[in-house]
């Protein structure tokens, strides 16, 4: 279970120095404006913006490639279906397969949107530690239950995964092969076992937290102030997002 986030966030460029709340807001706006893109011209503009932001962030290209690989299969299957099974103006055909203009546009749009949005997510999460982002989300109004659950889950995810691996190793050492349908019961016991362990551990965690005052805090986290640079960056992203959305809404209007 290896995370794709590169936690080495030490750098001096503008994205690393950007205040997390305004950065999160700005990136969210831009992400959703990218999701709105349905025209090829805007898709090209979106890719250009993405490339510029990525270049400025200073993140190694191999980190981006790792992320692009994950949804590649689903995107390629869907894109290929769009490319070969869409109806419309015929561009080329070979046997039962035909490529239409609409299919080609659909394929290009999906691929460029996936690539652009993933690029923005990589920039956001590789220039800000995950804990800082969760704190910023809490500051922006994320309910306490969700914020605390995210932090606890993150904290114990690797611990419990490690325990599960240990339990599995112990089973294998005692002769468990685990490659037949008859081994489903053992797998169910393994899953049940990790549930029991996590439940017992949660009691200890709660008691430890309670003696440290968990549940009685007045201020969850201090709010950080926005500098002029943060505001400028946030407004620039917001204007960019608004521009993309407005152009797309205009292009969607009948008769345009």
């Amino acid at each position: 279970m290896k995370t794709l986030i590169n936690t080495d966030c030490q750098s001096n460029n503008i994205f690393h120095q950007w205040e997390p709340r305004s950065k999160l807001l700005a990136f969210t706006l831009l992400l959703f404006s990218f999701a709105m893109v349905k025209s090829i011209e805007l898709a090209v503009f979106m890719l250009v913006i993405c490339s510029v932001i990525f270049f400025l962030s200073g993140i190694p290209f191999r980190n981006l490639l790792k992320r692009w690989k994950i949804p590649a299969v689903l995107v390629l299957v869907t894109g290929t279906m769009l490319l070969f099974l869409s109806e419309g103006h015929l561009l080329a055909s070979a046997g039962p397969f035909k490529i239409t203009r609409e299919g080609l546009i659909g394929f290009t749009l999906i691929t460029s949107r996936v690539m652009s949005i993933i690029t923005l997510i990589v920039i956001l999460f590789e220039t800000t530690p995950l804990l800082t982002i969760i704190t910023a989300m809490r500051n922006l109004g994320l309910p306490r239950i969700l914020a605390d659950m995210t932090l606890f889950t993150l904290r114990y995810l690797y611990t419990l995964h490690w325990q599960l691996e240990q339990m599995k190793t112990a089973m294998v050492l005692r002769g468990f092969a685990g490659n037949k349908i008859s081994s489903w019961k053992e797998y169910a016991i393994l899953i049940g076992g990790i549930m029991v362990r996590s439940f017992d551990q949660s009691e200890r965690v709660y008691r430890a937290l309670a003696v440290r005052g968990y549940g009685f805090e007045q201020n969850y986290i201090p709010c950080m102030s926005w500098s002029r640079k943060d505001k400028t960056l946030c407004y620039s992203f917001a204007v960019l997002a608004l521009m993309i959305s407005s152009i797309q809404i205009y292009l969607n209007m009948p008769g345009v």
Partner: protein, 213 residues
Amino acid sequence: MHIPDGMLSAGVCAAGYGLTLVAAGYSIKKINQSGETVRSIPKASLLTAAFFAASLIHIPVPPTSVHLILNGLLGAILGYFAFPAILVALFLQAVMFGHGGLTTLGINAVIMGLPAMVSSFIYCRFSNPQYNPIRHSIVGFVSGSIGIALSVVLFVVILINFIPSNINADTEKIAIYAGALGHIPLVIIEGIITALVLNYLKQVKPEILETKL
């Protein structure tokens, strides 16, 4: 079974977030009404982490293997915490492992979370406090199967209907049926594993199933 970023239009993503807001708001309201919110958060979180880890186990289905979703089991154990737990797990999966996405987080939460809430209702409604292994197994199987079956239906329908395309209607129907039929073995396996895990917990640690989280 996660829809990645960029596959769906902004309108569908926004609708997904709207539904997620309603479902999460309802769950949080019910959790707060229990009066044990602070005590329950660590329990629900650690169980969420355990589910996250358990869903990485590959169950043998010769000649291949599958990894489970376990949203039905999660619903049966976590109750009102099921939807927030799925939301948190999907967020961490999207951010840390690149599965799913952030713009599609809402719609993915609907695909996984709403069936978990249905499973939770089925388990709470039909499981008897007095342990009867056969009845408990049947209820467990139905909870687990319904959870994944509804998720598959939602996933396939959303993917086929909301990807902007000009694919003809017949091809769409074939894709929907093929997608749904291909998951039938997974539905059965999830049902069996859910029933086995719930029976194990009922015998070994009944507090997990009886504790009102």
